[in-house]
């Protein structure tokens, strides 16, 4: 007799995406006894081969600027951990006329957790009750207290440093001790004290003590390059290994998901994907699916999963998929501090990123805008890098010995400030499928639409006034340009320095939001699709608000909670 169908492997769960959410789901689900397959659109990560940790700029012919100097002034310069892109060849996205949007995507095991700043701030109780408090946006279907135990679990497992502060709406977590402040931080904290602006140890997913076999930080300040000792958090080095250790985890790398395929009953049966190494179309079958491809990619996958049962895309009977897209409100300013000139030679590196930050210190006060922002800052005697000297060159001009000496005098005297604030969702900011453009595999691509609201514009102005007063109070003078590329005062300010380009802060989220009402939300309070019982979303797409707290910690906490719910449902035979 002819064998019509070869026996096909059916996993308990298939996860799409290996970043913060997907990695957390993989760990929790496999440790909960489920067999899990994971699709990742990029290759496996090999830290020993892939990371440029401790490499000096002169060891690379391009000195960090990258081929054709394309990374000279970019976040994704040559040193960044692999496969994070602003543009991917063959995988375009489009913007509606008059719209700007930058979309940072990753194609590698671990996703953007390989690149992110490791800032780990819990959302506060008020952040889950936004509409109840000020009438704008919506409340989450869950309260802070429901997520708090999962923040505990995540922080205990991944390791986060910080201090107990009892600060309003910036909950304390389970913290390792913070590193000592750098000179730049000591200087700015004194000014903040005078201005009654809180400046406290930051909260970062970087180990200051060993944890679960991972070594403590060795203070090279290069978290963004990737850390061979896994002393900072990344999904690839912290979540995937324990999943692998269960023996119940299968990674399918170089797999670009095309669509989710439903059976006659309306449950997801498989995911159709392209094996990028062969170009062949493949399918992975599972009893449940966790989509964690990053907020916008997850929305894209659902919108592209159209069928007679779900003509508007999967989990989209409400029409909200792709809507409620937000990014953080960003604004930058740099200051020049003469007291840091000719500073004593010392090791200023520290752990990666800021050791101190300013949480939203006007919470509950009457302000001329809603919600709030936090301030990140850094500078000083960092490892010299390309583009860093454009400012002194523009100020000094000329050439010769005096230019050389002035560069040395001013080296380390610049401190940059970045505000990161809450955007309130609006109906002009969303993504949908471009009706005509497809990627190299014929998958329709996203088209972005964007408009900042009045509140965001006012907030960004407030940020800049605050930066100005901090810089001047600390004895500095305000520079022009941007934080990443400071120039002398009076140099033309790009519009992006005043208010960031949409998407540029890389906190885009909200596109498959959760809620109690199936008419106005795609997911229920457990991040399970209202329309499709065996479909879950585990990245930042479910978020209802985008408070001034970087999303990654909440992605992991929410994914942990969603995964425990999924295990529970699987045990009950409900999925």
């Amino acid at each position: 007799m002819l064998q019509i169908n070869p026996i096909r492997k059916v996993y308990d769960v298939c996860i799409i995406g290996s970043g913060a959410g997907g990695g957390t789901a993989a760990k929790v689900l496999t440790e909960g006894g489920l067999n899990v397959a994971m699709l990742e659109a990029g290759p496996r990560l090999n830290p020993d081969k892939d990371f440029k940790e401790h490499v000096w700029p002169y060891q690379l012919a391009h000195r960090g600027a990258g081929v054709a100097a394309k990374g000279r002034l970019e976040f994704n310069n040559e040193f960044l951990a692999p496969n994070g892109f602003w543009e991917i060849e063959g995988e375009p996205y489009t913007t509606a006329p008059g719209t700007k949007f930058r979309w940072f995507r990753s194609r590698i095991e671990g996703g953007r957790t390989n690149h992110y700043g490791r800032i780990s701030l819990r959302f506060g109780p008020a952040d889950f009750r936004a509409r109840s408090r000020d009438g704008m946006g919506d409340d989450w279907p869950i309260a802070y207290e429901e997520l708090a135990p999962y923040y505990d679990k995540v922080e205990s497992f991944i390791g986060v440093y910080g201090t107990k502060e009892n600060f309003p709406n910036a909950p304390d977590g389970i913290f390792q001790p913070p590193p000592h402040p750098r000179c730049t931080e000591t200087l700015i904290k004194k000014a903040c004290d005078r201005l009654n602006i809180a400046c406290i140890p930051s909260r970062m997913a970087i180990l200051t003590q060993p944890l679960n076999g991972r070594d403590a930080c060795h203070y090279c300040a290069q978290c963004g390059r990737g850390c061979k000792s896994a002393s900072n958090f990344s999904s690839s080095q912290v979540m995937i290994p324990p999943a692998t250790a269960t023996g119940r985890f299968t990674m399918i790398a170089n797999a670009m998901a095309r669509e989710l395929v439903v059976d006659k009953t309306g449950k997801v049966e498989s995911v159709s994907y392209i094996d990028k190494s062969t170009g062949a179309e493949q399918r992975a079958y599972a009893r449940a699916f966790v989509v964690a491809a990053s907020a916008c990619e997850s929305a894209r996958l659902l919108l592209n999963s159209r069928s007679s049962l779900f003509p508007n895309g999967l989990a989209n009977s409400s029409g909200v998929v792709g809507r409620y897209l937000t990014d953080s409100v960003g604004s930058d300013l740099a200051g020049y501090f003469p007291q840091l000139e000719n500073f004593p030679v010392h090791n200023h590196d520290g752990a990666g990123g800021m050791h101190m930050y300013m949480p939203w210190w006007l919470f509950g006060k009457k302000n001329d805008f809603l919600r709030g922002y936090h301030i990140e800052f850094g500078g000083g005697r960092n490892l010299p890098s390309v583009g860093q000297f454009d400012g002194v060159n523009a100020e000094h001009e000329g050439y010769g010995l005096s230019l050389k000496q002035q560069t040395r005098t001013s080296y380390g005297a610049v401190i940059g400030f970045s505000g990161r604030g809450e955007m309130i969702p609006n109906d002009k900011s969303f993504c949908d499928l471009d009706p005509t453009v497809v990627d190299r595999w014929g998958i329709p691509v996203l088209r972005f639409h964007w408009q900042w609201g009045e509140n965001e514009i006012k907030m960004a102005q407030h940020m800049r006034e605050t930066f100005r007063s901090i810089i001047e109070t600390a004895g500095g003078r305000v520079m022009g340009g941007t934080r990443r590329h400071p120039l002398p005062a009076g140099a033309p300010q790009s519009a992006e320095a005043s208010l960031s380009e949409p998407g540029a802060i890389i906190h885009e989220l909200g596109t498959v939001r959760m809620g109690n009402n199936p008419k106005t939300s795609a997911l229920n309070r457990n991040c399970q699709a209202h329309d499709v019982k065996n479909l879950f979303v585990a990245d930042a797409a479910p978020f209802v608000t985008n408070p001034d707290k970087n999303p990654t910690l909440t992605i992991t906490a929410l994914a942990w909670r969603t995964s425990e719910y999924l295990i529970d449902q699987a045990k009950k035979g409900e999925v």
């Binding site: 020993d48 000096w56 402040p181 000179c183 000591t186 030679v345 090791n347 010299p384």
Partner: protein, 199 residues
């Protein structure tokens, strides 16, 4: 910090293992880290300074580029200059890969030679030192383009080149040492800001 204290750190095992698949396990970790650096160095496989064959500029223009680089950031008692730092090679490499750089830098050098020929009857390299200084003083300051807008492209060229020379110089071994950057290493702890009056 001493090598002994560092070698206690199991953190470095991963570096050691990654560097040479166990073959350097007996080597102290800092040496292993250095081994990685050396491997990358050898991958560069560039000819020694002086024997470098330009990838974009012709021989004359490359000599002009070298001269301009060294004039922008010269050697002094504290350190070598831009040529020793490899700035011309770095700029040549980027220029070969970037059409915008080709027109800005290639065009700038052409302008410089043409202007020197017009003024002094010879290209920049053959002009006398005080003539070279005269022309550079003209294009090294924005205010001169304000006074004479026809100079604007040349002023832009020089400002652009100056930025790239700084990139190449201050990311070099001698440039980093000149600035006094200390770090890019392994530490057991981070003591924070040293005691300095005023901070």
């Amino acid at each position: 910090m001493s090598i002994d204290s560092v070698s206690r750190r199991s953190v470095l095992k991963s570096i050691t293992l990654g560097a040479a698949a166990g073959s350097v396990l007996s080597v102290i970790p800092l040496q292993a880290a250095e081994h990685i650096h050396n491997m990358i160095e050898s991958e560069k496989a560039d000819a020694p300074v002086g024997l470098y064959t330009p990838k974009f500029f012709n021989a004359h223009d490359y000599q002009t580029l070298q001269s301009l680089c060294e004039t922008i950031l010269p050697a002094d008692a504290d350190s070598g200059g831009a040529i020793e730092a490899g700035a011309p090679e770095f700029i040549d490499l980027l220029t070969r890969e970037n059409p915008d750089y080709q027109s800005r830098l290639g065009g700038g050098i052409q302008w410089l030679d043409a202007e020197c020929t017009r003024r002094y009857g010879k290209p920049y390299l053959d002009a006398a030192p005080d003539q070279q200084k005269q022309i550079l003083d003209l294009i090294a300051y924005r205010k001169n383009a304000g006074a004479d807008p026809s100079l604007a492209p040349a002023v832009d060229f020089f400002a652009f080149l100056r930025n790239l020379v700084s990139d190449g110089y201050f990311t070099s071994k001698i440039g980093i040492k000149y600035l006094g950057y200390k770090g890019n290493t392994f530490r057991l702890d981070f003591p924070g800001c040293p005691p300095v009056p005023g901070v």
